[in-house]
């Protein structure tokens, strides 16, 4: 297996004053792979995700991404316009709270169309039909296209956020607790949707969650964090079925049937 990684994270460290957010984090993510990051609140998983996605500047380290035109480039030292372009095209970020990733005052169709316009789409009819196509793919009825997200349920808002993010055909999606705060039946629907999209579009994804059942179903690989450090890393079912680190053993044994 000689494929080049899509994302290569090297020695990321982020501190808040004297306190460690995350440190010594390195890994490669390959095309089509889904990686889960689990750990309790305060373990550094969201800090790490935000450092990788360019939302937080790490103290040190590199986040190399296989760009379409220049190959592996460190996204942390990239120019601001270039990084913004990347986050609109090849990258996507799904927030835990849909309202952080949506424009609440703009219609559902507008939320999806806006991202297309940001990459240069100008034909209104095409934008609208693509937006409707994507709303359908996330199971939002066409007759809701002109409604604002504030009129949507939590689960619908989350699906709309996913449509907005995926419409430009990104290669890498960062997700922060994508199923958090949703009731179980809505979670199941979202999981099914995400799995289908990952398979059909060949997406790579990094999913931060504290829900082990979610990673079991969605992630190929799993990274376990505690106090800012990666304590265990491997194939998802291996980490869950045969955990090696004391913390992972505690985590797995604390859950009812994953």
């Amino acid at each position: 297996m000689t494929t080049q990684p899509l994302l290569s994270v090297k020695d990321i460290r982020k501190t808040y004053g004297g306190r460690i957010g995350c440190t010594d984090v390195s890994f490669d993510l390959y095309p089509g792979e889904v990686m889960g990051i689990v750990g309790e609140s305060g373990s550094g998983k969201s800090t790490l995700l935000n450092c990788m996605a360019g939302h937080l500047p790490p103290d040190s380290g590199q986040v190399l991404f296989d760009t379409r035109d220049r190959g592996m480039v460190d996204t942390l030292t990239m120019s601001e316009p270039e990084r913004r372009m990347l986050s609109r095209t090849d990258w996507a970020f799904v927030h835990q709270h849909a309202r952080d990733g949506l424009r609440m005052g703009v219609s559902a169709g507008g939320n999806v169309g806006e991202r297309l316009m940001a990459v240069g789409a100008r034909h209104y009819g095409n934008i609208r039909s693509q937006a409707i196509d994507w709303l359908g793919r996330v199971e939002i009825n066409e007759d809701r296209v002109d409604d604002k997200p504030s009129a949507f349920s939590g689960g619908m808002q989350q699906r709309l956020q996913i449509a907005r993010n995926l419409v430009t055909g990104p290669r890498l999606v960062f997700m922060d607790e994508p199923t958090g705060g949703l009731d179980v039946s809505v979670q199941a629907r979202l999981l099914d949707l995400l799995r289908g999209l990952v398979r059909e579009m060949g997406l790579s994804a990094i999913i931060v969650t504290h829900d082990l059942a979610v990673v079991r179903l969605l992630a190929d690989r799993l990274m376990v964090m505690k106090s800012g450090h990666v304590v265990e890393h491997g194939l998802t079912d291996q980490v869950l079925d045969d955990p090696q680190h004391a913390y992972t053993q505690l985590l797995v044994s604390s859950v009812l049937q994953v």
């Binding site: 297996m1 039946s185 799995r195 179903l217 190929d220 491997g234």
Partner: protein, 234 residues
């Protein structure tokens, strides 16, 4: 004819112990010196008392248990020392596993659960679904259930869906954990035929069969895993 082909699965001097960090760091050795080969078209039955390590060994071959030392070759991949992505690729195309429990995303229809392994190796939807329909009919899952999620099915139905899913793609190597348990005579017969067909196309199979008649019928050889159980620490 098969003598000239290399083994599909080669297990070499494999060992394993569990360290229970939250129970006084107790170290429990469970496997030592496991060594055997499985040839194409051959079915090997793992035997031994409950707790001897049959399931442990099977999970080590599938890669969801880590091996401490040794090699587990499945085709060209050494599962005992491979990167996660190599194991993922191996499981996608080469190594199938029919466990005793069906684990699926809720809400996904049965027909898609069965077709999924084919879709992930790039088979077109029409062919994949035709194969899934064929397997579900053979295993007597009523057509009215195909569009429903198997999460609400009875235990026996879930197991048959699991078997259909496991046999959808023609894996060169297969692990079967109690494939005939809790099946009625007709379905048991179908599963045994599926195993025989897999052998006939050259699959190497490792199985755990508590059903002695099933074992005698499909297994070419038995391996008693208690031979690999480490001597009890003094």
């Amino acid at each position: 004819m098969t003598q000239t082909l290399p083994p599909v699965i080669r297990i070499e001097d494999v060992s394993k112990s569990f360290t229970l960090h939250n129970q006084g760091s107790a170290v429990i050795p469970v496997m030592q010196g496991a060594t055997f080969d499985v040839m194409p078209g051959e079915c090997v039955a793992l035997t031994g008392n409950s707790g001897a390590g049959k399931s442990t060994l099977m999970r080590m071959i599938y890669g969801n248990y880590l091996s401490e030392s040794g090699h587990i070759w499945v085709g060209d991949t050494d599962v005992a020392n491979a990167e996660p992505r190599e194991i993922i690729a191996l499981r996608r195309a080469t190594l199938g596993y029919v466990s005793q429990f069906l684990r699926v995303v809720p809400r996904v229809p049965t027909i898609e659960v069965v077709a999924e392994p084919l879709l992930t190796v790039g088979v077109d939807r029409e062919t994949a679904f035709a194969k899934a329909r064929d397997l579900l009919s053979r295993l007597n899952i009523p057509e009215t259930l195909w569009g429903l999620s198997p999460t609400t099915f009875s235990g026996g139905e879930q197991q048959r869906v699991n078997i259909a899913r496991g046999f959808a793609h023609e894996y060169p190597a297969m692990l079967l954990d109690e494939p005939t348990a809790s099946l009625d005579a007709t379905n048991r017969e179908t599963v045994l035929s599926l195993i025989e067909e897999a052998k006939a196309r050259g699959a190497a199979i490792i199985g755990i069969f508590h059903d002695a008649l099933a074992r005698e019928r499909v297994a070419d050889r038995e391996i008693d895993v208690s031979a690999f159980t480490p001597a009890k620490a003094a």
